[in-house]
């Protein structure tokens, strides 16, 4: 067999205590479109970030055309012929198409940008790719799909780019643009480029790719040719054998309804969502990114206002858009991204833990400091937060302990309903188990939890019932006993 264009072998990478990649392997050949599959946190983005030079691997080998390489920066990776088409639109909306394509490598004449050459080069490139885009148009004025095509042109503007990475390029595109993009990708492959294609849409694997690699829990579990592969085989390898995470689940759901959502709609995120949450119950919501799951929780908590529909706790309706009212009625919310919307990172552990509870422990606006201290100490003990003390700044803690601080802040107000959005994201195994134990204890004690998770094993292991959300609608409901990971994924995709 010929030498592959790219070979990455036994790549390992840890972030603090979290192993993001334990055995990552990826082989790309010229003329091949290679699909990278796997759930969130499986290791796809980590191995690509290493390839792009964003991170240095702890160990492992990277070879390009049989020659060992190591990249210290994104620039070095680019020099070696690796270019990426970003998932998120990363262009500068105020600049023109041509200026965006050649950002940082503009043709110059006597120190000034040579706009004639710039526009001519861009026009030639766009024509060659068959993109009907005016190089002089301002990027921000173009449709999102067109902007995505500009991103592709930008990646291809580096003449020596032989390895191209497409990170979910179709997520913002419609059917017609997707077909156009596929044509471009096939053409590029036919011209000898090696292409890595990341997608969550399994159908695309069969449409565009000829080879595939599946990642799970930081490891490459299988590589092969798409020819002869079936959808079922692919899903099964993505689910794989269980790692045997220990779940803690002692709750038994009560028959009484504690929390009810009726015909809730917020366009364009979700439509006509209805469900009941019983006492002592853990209800799961499974859905892909973009299915409207986080937007649903935001709305239940009052951060956003629904177009129509009702939310009731213990039979009483909640006022839309009233976070304070939601907290007072007994709702707490652990958001998806703790750094962005869960914690005040530069404040102390104690200040964060007490923040939601201050509304209850004050007299005429003065903080009752004794109660505050008790609340903080209790939370640190209950949540097993490993910190030198309540004065420690939260950003100095590990990811797992930071997540426990978010949970601790939520639990401090004594909620009845806990909304959890990816409660164990970016958390190590030990802290995961602590979080499962806390959720279990909370529901045994009479509370109810509504939990979003992309981790199939986790959602089946922890939840009594699971609702599947697809494109903003609840499409199926599964019972805990009768669910397989395959069923869930089939329903969600």
């Amino acid at each position: 067999m010929d030498t592959p264009r790219l070979s990455m072998r036994s790549i390992q990478k840890r972030f603090g205590g979290v192993k993001a990649l334990t055995d990552g392997n990826l082989t790309l050949r010229s003329g091949e479109v290679h699909a990278l599959c796997g759930g969130n946190g499986a290791g796809k983005s980590t191995i690509l970030s290493i390839l792009m030079g964003f991170y240095k691997p702890d160990s492992g080998v990277i070879e390009i055309d049989g020659e060992a390489k190591s990249f210290n920066s994104a620039h070095e990776a680019l020099e070696a012929g690796i270019a990426i088409v970003q998932q998120e639109l990363s262009g500068v909306p105020q600049l023109t198409v041509a200026e965006n394509i050649y950002l940082g490598s503009e043709p110059r004449r006597r120190g000034f940008i040579d706009f004639d050459t710039l526009n001519r080069n861009a026009e030639e490139l766009l024509n060659r790719l068959g993109f009907d885009i005016d190089p002089r148009a301002t990027l921000g004025d173009l449709a999102v799909a067109t902007q995505q095509l500009v991103e592709i042109a930008k990646a291809l503007s580096h003449s020596n780019a032989n390895i191209l990475i497409f990170d979910e390029p179709t997520s913002a595109l419609g059917e017609k643009d997707t077909q156009r993009l596929f044509e471009v990708i096939r053409e590029l492959a036919a011209n000898g480029k090696a292409i890595a294609y990341v997608t969550h849409r399994l159908q695309e694997v069969f449409t565009i790719a000829n080879a595939y690699t599946v990642f799970k829990d930081g490891e490459t579990v299988i590589e092969g040719k798409v020819e002869g592969l079936t959808r079922e085989m692919l899903i099964e390898s993505m689910i794989g054998g269980s790692l045997g995470t220990e779940f803690v689940k002692d709750n038994v759901p009560a028959p009484a309804t504690l929390f009810e959502v009726k015909n809730l709609t917020r366009a364009p995120y979700f439509r006509d969502v209805s469900f009941q949450l019983h006492g002592n119950e853990i209800l799961g919501i499974y859905g892909l990114v973009g299915s409207g799951r986080s937007e649903l929780l935001d709305t239940l908590y009052g951060l956003e206002i629904a177009d129509s529909g009702d939310v009731q706790i213990e039979g009483r309706p909640l006022t839309p858009g009233d976070v304070d009212g939601a907290i007072r009625s007994g709702i707490a919310y652990v958001t998806e991204d703790r750094a962005r919307s869960g914690l005040v990172l530069k404040a102390s552990v104690g200040a964060n833990l007490a923040l939601s509870n201050l509304r209850f422990i004050n007299s005429f606006g003065m903080v009752q400091e004794r109660k505050e201290r008790e609340c903080v100490d209790l939370a640190i003990r209950q949540m097993h937060i490993r910190t030198p003390g309540p004065e420690e700044i939260v950003s100095n803690l590990s990811g797992g302990n930071q997540q426990k601080v978010v949970l601790g802040r939520c639990m401090a107000v004594g909620p009845k309903v806990l909304l959890l959005d990816e409660p164990t994201r970016g958390v190590d195994v030990g802290a995961k188990k602590d979080i499962y134990r806390l959720i279990s204890e909370f529901t045994v004690g009479g509370g109810a939890a509504l939990m979003i998770s992309s981790d199939l094993e986790e959602i089946i292991g922890m939840c009594d019932r699971i609702l599947v959300l697809r494109s903003g609608e609840i499409v199926e409901e599964f019972k805990h006993e009768a669910t397989t990971q395959k069923d869930l994924m089939m329903a969600a995709i």
Partner: protein, 335 residues
């Protein structure tokens, strides 16, 4: 993770670093003065006298009060450029009630004290309310919102009297700038102390104070934690405006007239005091004790350089260098 002993050391240095810097500056100025005494140039060390120290406190009272409001705003991740103009506008409103030239004397004492005070405080708070609503409701950057108020309030100050100053203020009103309690403590210094004490309680002991830190540290997280961020931000600017009103009363009473140009560029000294005091313009970090010593450092420097006969343009250069230096040291220490 850092070991406990190490983190205690680090925290205590952060806490007392500003005090050490202040004492070092005092020692330096005092030493230079002492040299002059030993050389026989001066009969006594004029810096190290009770009178001079009281004078420094007197001199920093207006800036100190403005800096208190600025501390809240900066902790909330904002900035208030309008404090100097709002000071002038409030002072002008106070003076318009405190001057005998109006000829109205219904209940002399009350009229010449209560009305000017209420007018200034109300004017200041109202300007703050406008700032706060623009920042919190319309989501306009604080720099822009308060830059608008800086210009508008200055214009209003001139509009009140058609560009003329107001003088001939009542002695009752002037007491707030020139009076002494027990014949020793200047009233502005007492006001400075009261403002700092009350503001310290507000920032450190109340729910509002905690919310100001939370909103400045991460507005989104504060909102998810149930903090009404709109209201917290609005009240922060109202408080800063209110204190500009207090400072307006004191400055007007001190000078004995309300000038249309009063308080010009005072916002810069207030920001300087807050930043030297260790607050971060990125928000979420800052202490009133730091601000107090920041204001003192500026005061001692102005006073010391005056005593030593340094020309004012050199004073400005030294002050500019000091502010940047303070922030460099602070960012190095945190890194």
């Amino acid at each position: 993770m850092t070991s406990p002993t190490l983190s205690v050391k680090r925290i205590s240095f952060q806490k007392y670093g500003i005090i050490i810097a202040f004492l070092a500056l005092c020692a330096l100025v005092s030493a230079i003065c002492q040299i002059k005494v030993m050389q026989g140039v001066w009969p006594v060390n004029v810096f190290l006298t009770v009178n001079n120290l009281m004078l420094i406190l007197h001199q920093i009272s207006v800036n100190g009060i403005l800096a208190v409001g600025m501390t809240f705003v900066v902790i909330s991740a904002g900035i208030d450029l309008s404090v100097g103009s709002v000071l002038a506008f409030s002072g002008m409103m106070a003076a318009s009630f405190a001057t005998r030239s109006t000829g109205v004397t219904p209940w002399s004492g009350v009229y010449f004290v209560a009305f000017p005070l209420l007018a200034a405080l109300f004017t200041g708070a109202l300007c703050g309310l406008v700032n706060g609503l623009i920042v919190s409701r319309f989501r306009i950057q604080p720099f822009i919102a308060t830059l608008g108020m800086l210009l508008a309030a200055r214009g209003l100050t001139m509009a009140v009297t058609g560009g003329n100053p107001i003088s001939a203020l009542s002695p009752e009103f002037r007491w707030f700038g020139t009076g002494r309690i027990f014949d020793t403590l200047p009233v502005p210094v007492v006001f400075l102390a009261i403002v700092f004490a009350l503001a310290w309680v507000l920032l450190n002991k109340t729910v509002f104070g905690r919310y100001v830190y939370a909103v400045g540290g991460n507005e989104k997280s504060a909102r998810t934690s149930g903090v009404n961020t709109t209201s917290v931000l609005t009240w922060t600017y109202i408080f800063a405006g209110f204190l500009s009103g207090v400072a307006g009363i004191i400055l007007t009473a001190k000078t004995g007239s309300a000038q249309t140009s009063a308080g010009t560029s005072y916002e810069l000294d207030a920001i300087a005091a807050v930043v030297i005091g260790g607050a971060s313009l990125a928000g979420g970090v800052g202490r009133l004790t730091g601000t107090f010593f920041g204001a003192l450092i500026i005061g001692v420097m102005n006073n010391g350089l005056d005593i030593l006969g340094v020309e004012s343009f050199y004073q400005s250069i030294i002050k500019g260098a000091l502010i940047v230096l303070a922030v460099i040291i602070d960012s190095r220490r945190q890194a």
